[in-house]
């Protein structure tokens, strides 16, 4: 650990420190006990030159510029584990880590993979760099046709905000189609925005691109206002988090549910439709922005338990103590960067945990996860038999859709 006592820049520290106080609960940073819990629980704390507690230490020592000279904050996957366990209730992820990343971006210190995702978001409205016109291509061939609001202009009960990866990623599209079929089977009157939908921007925000996030929120807000619906559901926990916790402050406020909550409310209607047995031990991975951040632990588990044949088992990291898949906070676009530093991926740790409890299926509820975990099952030999399935896919299979 090198902290060279070069000329100190208290002004850099002071400007940064006081900027934290403008954020909701930002002043709590003052109450840090330097207990080190955050750095200990952080999945990549052992690699960061400045894990969260040490950043606060550097601020107090007026050497925050040392933090900016390292790139260790790009190991942060915004999993919120540190914030959830901080005895002083400091919003470490949302305030400290995100603001530090923002400083890095303002200074132009952005790993190139992340830069590409941010530029794609700015230009195409999605980090994958796909054509916005193809955002609803996953619906092709589905019967009945999915209602794209811009085409039909019919009011709907439920606006389904599909999200980036659920719309475009080839591994996710079957899961997205599965959910469309389930909604149809339940007789839900729903529509999507298709080409008019923009990225929710939440992971870009947590990667430090606040301005871009606000632009996405504004654009989505404008589109929402064009149509009539009673509530929003979403496939993506990151979108759910944005719509629930971040958009309202920007004047975009609608009742929103993650699809697992929405389906759980209809579980009595679903149960008789679950005909096919899926005989397997299933471990459920809590996505950070569904579980730890937003407290939705039981609904996904209840849906899985309702499937005949499913035996739910728990992995060592679960519920509030879940282990991030590595995709959050920009991690989705820092794979090469993080691999170079860590020579391991969080998704690989996770599939090892699934194997350790003898599960055959790793069930997930976030569109970042199937591609990440499936890649991990290919590199971890012991996990080669492990199947990664979206909850919607398992439900649709059991419902014979």
């Amino acid at each position: 650990m090198e902290i060279t006592l070069s000329p100190l820049s208290p002004s850099v520290t002071k400007t940064f420190y006081t900027s934290l106080f403008d954020l909701q609960d930002g002043e709590r940073v003052r109450t840090c006990l330097q207990c080190g819990t955050c750095s200990g629980i952080c999945p990549f704390g052992y690699i960061m030159k400045f894990p969260p507690g040490k950043i606060i230490g550097a601020i107090r020592a007026e050497i925050f510029d040392h933090v900016l000279k390292t790139d260790s904050v790009w190991m942060c996957v915004s999993c919120n584990a540190c914030a959830s366990f901080c005895p002083s209730n400091i919003p470490i992820t949302r305030v400290l880590m995100t603001r530090t990343k923002e400083e890095m971006i303002l200074a132009g210190n952005v790993p190139s993979e992340l830069q590409a995702a941010l530029e794609n978001t700015q230009r195409y409205g999605n980090p994958l760099g796909e054509s916005p016109r193809k955002r609803a291509d996953w619906t092709l061939g589905l019967q009945p046709e999915v209602n794209i609001l811009g085409k039909t202009r019919q009011p709907v009960d439920v606006l389904w905000y599909v999200g980036d990866y659920a719309s475009y990623h080839s591994r996710m599209q079957p899961a997205t189609r599965a959910l469309a079929k389930i909604l149809n089977a339940l007789g839900v009157n729903f529509g999507i925005l298709g080409p008019e939908e923009y990225s929710d921007g939440d992971s870009q925000r947590l990667a430090g691109e606040r301005g871009l996030f606000e632009m996405m929120a504004q654009k989505n807000g404008q589109v929402f206002r064009k149509y009539k619906f009673n509530q929003i559901i979403t496939t993506d926990p990151h979108a759910y988090n944005a719509l629930k916790n971040e958009y309202p402050a920007l004047g975009v406020e609608y009742p929103v549910q993650h699809y697992t909550q929405f389906l759980f409310e209809r579980i009595e209607q679903i149960k008789p439709l679950l005909k096919n047995e899926i005989k397997a031990k299933v471990a459920y991975h809590d996505p950070c922005y569904l579980g730890r951040v937003n407290g939705i632990f039981d609904e996904p588990r209840a849906l899985l338990s309702a499937i005949p044949g499913v035996e739910l088992v728990e992995m060592s990291h679960q519920r509030i103590n879940s282990l991030c898949c590595g995709g959050g906070g920009g991690g989705m676009w820092l794979d090469g960067f993080q691999w170079e530093k860590a020579h391991t991926r969080l998704s690989e740790w996770r599939v090892r945990e699934a194997v350790a409890v003898n599960t055959q299926i790793l069930a997930v509820a976030c569109p970042y996860e199937p591609p990440r975990f499936e890649d991990a099952t290919k590199t971890i030999q012991a996990a080669s038999q492990l199947k990664v399935r979206e909850i919607a896919e398992l439900l649709a299979e059991s419902m014979d859709l």
């Binding site: 923002e102 132009g108 054509s131 691109e209 871009l212």
Partner: protein, 253 residues
């Protein structure tokens, strides 16, 4: 040091390209334009030079959808002046563009003009050498690295096969950039938005676009399936033998 960077917008290949009914041009209904990648490198190189040795960077573009955003982004990165040529550029080829840029650049009197070395749209000659010709200035293309030295520069010019030459050029000169010394930087969207409120885009109307000397497109078409491929079957040794036989038959060996 005054640096001028003329840039252009080209079709974005993320969208599918279709050909219009005339059969000689792209259908512009769904066409989306994007900065020519190498022009983005030229802008980055100009800003790197300014950061290193001071100076003023002017970015110029013909008007098109998305150009304003790009110019503001360039300003957020460090460009000082933004100039937009206005007029009907729908049929302007590189010859016309080169002449239009030359007129404006004459008046700017820059020491150095940087363009991207090539673009993927029109293939009637790169803007850089055309511009150099109309301005009567020297041109060096495929440049990846520039060292300023008083009233001359040393340009690192890339050749195919991994060869690099250091070419000394007296200023003013036009350089075609193959790659900036660093990949184009990222600029936070909040900074771009700030610049949008403060920076000014100067407009220069261009009335007569003169495209003589350029190519005339006879037919534009999607790759067509031909039936000339012959698949050679057998072990690698057999295939190699047959191949050598074929080469001899065709007179290439």
């Amino acid at each position: 040091m005054k640096i001028a960077v003329p840039i252009k917008f080209v079709p974005d290949l993320v969208e599918e390209l279709t050909i219009d009914p005339s059969g000689t041009a792209l259908d512009t209904t769904w066409l989306r334009l994007i900065i020519n990648e190498l022009d983005d490198h030229a802008v980055e190189q100009a800003i790197l030079l300014k950061e290193r040795s001071g100076g003023e960077v002017t970015v110029l573009s013909a008007e098109a959808d998305g150009v304003d955003d790009f110019l503001f982004t360039a300003a957020a990165k460090g460009a000082d002046r933004l100039i937009k040529l206005t007029g009907d550029f729908s049929a302007a080829d590189n010859h016309a563009l080169g002449r239009a840029f030359a007129d404006v650049i004459k008046e700017l009197q820059p020491d150095l003009i940087l363009t991207g070395v090539q673009a993927h749209n029109d293939l009637d000659g790169s803007v850089g050498p055309l511009l150099a010709e109309y301005l009567g200035l020297p041109y060096v293309g495929y440049v990846a690295g520039i060292a300023l030295d008083g009233n001359k520069v040393v340009a690192r010019k890339e050749y195919a096969g991994g060869l690099v030459a250091e070419v000394e050029v007296k200023l003013p000169a036009v350089l075609g950039i193959q790659a900036a010394e660093q990949p184009p930087r990222y600029v936070a969207y909040s900074k771009i938005r700030q610049v949008m409120g403060t920076a000014k885009i100067e407009e220069r109307p261009v009335s007569n676009l003169e495209s003589s000397g350029g190519v005339v497109v006879g037919r534009l078409f999607q790759p067509e399936v031909a039936e000339r491929a012959t698949m050679l079957e057998g072990s690698p040794e057999d295939v190699a033998d047959k191949l050598v036989g074929l080469f001899k038959e065709l007179g290439t060996l």
